[in-house]
Symmetry: C2
Subunit: 322 residues, 2 copies
C-alpha cells in the first residue's frame, strides 16, 4: 500500500453543495492546483454526473491516470459505507443516489464519498482552524446546516454514517419554522442561508427599523446581502446576525454537553459574516452553558477560503483509503 501510494501525486476533491458543485485537483501537500465548479441544480442527477465527470476528465487530461489516487466527494447525507446519498432534503434529486458508482463508471477513477460536513471537518483538521485540535465541532452554515464532530481525535461516523446531523437538532427558538425534513424547530431553519433571509423578512414585517434591505426585491434579499448590509452598519441587518449568532450560541451550549469540545468552528457561506455571528454566539453560549463548559470553548471561523476546506477534506479521502 505504501509503495502504491507513493506514485499517487494527486487526487480530486468534490464539494457537492445544495447550491454549487466545486471540484479541484489537489496535490498530496494540500495545494489546490486547479479548481472549477457549476450550479448544482440540473434536471436529473445523471445530467449532473455527466457534467462533473466531463469536468474532471478535462481537468486531468494532461496527468497520467496512475498518478491520481481517486475522487473524493463530500455531499449532504452521503453514506461512506454504501457509497450512496440517502434521503437528502437539500438536493434537487430523489434519493437514494448511487453516487460513487455513477462517477466511477463515468471517469474510470476510484470514487469515495462522505458527508459534506465531515469532509469540511477533515479539511479543517488537516489544513485549517482545527489544526492540532482533537476535540472540536465544525458547523457548516450554507444551503443546509450540517456538522462534523471530532472527539478525542476521532471523526464521529455512527452506525450508518449519520452522526453529526446537528442542523436537524430542534430548539425552542425555531419551533415556529418548518424544515425541509418535514419537522419543525431544526437549527437549520434559523442558521442556514434561507434561515437568515427568513429572519430578515420577519424583522422587516414586525419592526419599523429603517434598513437598506427594504429596498431589495425578493430575489436580491440573500444571506450575503444581509451580511453586506450588516458590515455597512445597517441596524436591522446587524440585528438579524445578532439573532442568528445568539441562536447558534444557545445550540452550541447543548452540543457542548455531548462532546466537551475545545472549539466550535463555523464554516460555509453564512459564516462569512464572521464576528457578526461569533460575538453574540460566544456571549449566548456563556449565558446558557452548564458551568463545566462556560468560558472554556473557543469560537472560530474557518481559516480556509471559500469551499477550500470541503474540497481539501474530500480530496484527502481517496488518499486515506487507497
Amino acid at each position: 500500500m505504501e509503495a502504491n501510494a507513493s506514485h499517487h501525486l494527486y487526487s480530486i476533491g468534490v464539494d457537492l453543495g445544495g447550491t454549487n458543485t466545486v471540484y479541484a485537483l489537489v496535490d498530496t501537500h494540500g495545494n489546490i492546483l486547479k479548481c472549477d465548479g457549476f450550479p448544482t441544480a440540473t434536471t436529473t442527477v445523471e445530467e449532473w454526473a455527466d457534467k462533473l465527470s466531463g469536468g474532471i476528465l478535462e481537468m486531468t487530461e494532461s496527468i497520467k491516470k496512475d498518478n491520481i489516487s481517486g475522487i473524493g466527494i463530500g455531499a449532504p447525507c452521503a453514506n461512506a459505507v454504501t457509497g450512496c446519498i440517502e434521503a437528502a432534503t437539500d438536493l434537487p434529486w430523489r434519493s437514494p443516489i448511487p453516487l460513487a458508482v455513477m462517477i466511477e463508471s463515468r471517469t474510470g477513477m476510484k470514487t469515495v464519498i462522505t458527508n459534506d460536513a465531515n469532509a469540511a471537518a477533515i479539511g479543517e483538521m488537516a489544513y485549517g482552524a482545527a489544526k492540532g485540535l482533537t476535540n472540536f465541532i465544525v458547523i457548516t452554515l450554507g444551503t443546509g446546516v450540517g456538522a462534523g464532530v471530532v472527539v478525542d481525535g476521532h471523526l464521529l461516523t455512527g452506525r450508518s454514517g449519520f452522526a453529526g446531523e446537528l442542523g436537524h437538532v430542534t430548539f425552542p427558538f425555531a419551533l415556529d419554522r418548518d424544515c425541509a425534513c418535514g419537522r419543525k424547530g431544526c437549527l437549520q431553519t434559523v442558521a442556514s442561508a434561507k434561515g437568515v433571509v427568513k429572519t430578515a423578512r420577519l424583522m422587516m414585517e414586525k419592526t419599523d427599523m429603517n434598513s437598506t434591505l427594504r429596498d431589495l426585491d425578493e430575489k436580491s434579499l440573500t444571506a450575503k446581502a444581509v451580511s453586506e448590509a450588516a458590515n455597512a452598519g445597517d441596524e436591522l441587518a446587524k440585528a438579524v446576525y445578532d439573532h442568528t449568532g445568539r441562536c447558534l450560541g444557545a445550540a452550541a451550549a447543548e452540543f457542548a454537553a455531548f462532546t466537551d469540545p475545545e472549539a466550535i468552528i463555523l464554516f460555509g457561506g453564512v459564516s462569512k459574516a464572521g464576528c457578526l455571528l461569533l460575538e453574540p454566539m460566544k456571549r449566548e453560549f456563556d449565558n446558557c452553558a452548564l458551568h463545566l463548559y462556560k468560558g472554556r470553548v473557543k469560537f472560530l471561523c474557518s481559516q480556509l477560503k471559500d469551499a477550500d476546506a470541503a474540497v481539501l477534506g474530500a480530496a484527502s479521502l481517496p488518499m486515506i483509503v487507497s
Copy 2:
C-alpha cells in the same frame, strides 16, 4: 505490562452515587466476589473516604496486595485526567475533591476514577445489554441523570473528560423546572428519581385521578413507590411513567442526530420501571426523530442487576490502565 497484569487476579470497583456508595471485589472475568455499601451522605468527604477505605481494606484483608490491580471509582463529574471530582451538583460535599489521591493514600492501592455514567457504559459493553455493540448511549437515571456515549467502539471523553453530560441538555418539556446546576429545563429535572416524584406531585395537584399515591406521606412518595403503583395498575402512576418515557423519547430523538446510535440503554434506579418507560419512549422517539433514525434505534434496559454495571465498569478501569 502483560507480565505484570498476569498476577493481578482482582480489582475493586466503586460506584459513588448521589444516594448510595457501593463497592465490590471483582475478578478478571467480571465476577463480583464480595459486595458492600453505605449511604453516601456523610458530614465531610474525609469521613466518606475513611468509611470507604476502611471497608475496602476489610474486604481485601485475606488477599495479597500484589494480586489486586487497584481501585476504580465511578463518580458524578469525576475527571479521569486530574483524578478529581469537579463541580458535582449531586453530591453532599464541596468540589473540587481530589478523590483518587484521598483513597490511594488511605488504602495504599492505585486508584483511578471516571464519570459514573461512563463506568456504567463500560460495564454494559463488557458484560451487559451493549455486548457486541459499537454505537450506543447508556442513559443513567438515578439521583441525577448522566450518560456514557460510545461511538464507533470508542467511549467519548472530550477535552476535559466531560463528554456525555446529557442530563444537562435542556428541553422545552422541562423549562418550568429548576435544576440543581442552577439552570432550567435540564433532562435531569424530569427523568431523575426526583423528577419522577415531581411529575407525580404535579399530576396529583392538577388532576382528579384516583391514585394510591395520594395516601403516601411526603417521605414515602419515591420514584420506586410510583413505579410499584404503576406496575400494580394505578392509572396516575402509569401516566407519570408514560410522561417520563415520552420526555426521554423526545430527548433521545435529539441525541440520535449527534451519534447515530444503534441502541439507547436505560440504566439505574428509575429505569427499573422497564417497559413502563421503554414503550412510550420508543413511540415518542419514532414520532420526533429525523427520518434517518426513525424505527432504527433499539431501546433497552440494563441487563445487569442493581449497581453491577457501574461497579463492574469501575472495576475494569485499574485493569485497563495497569
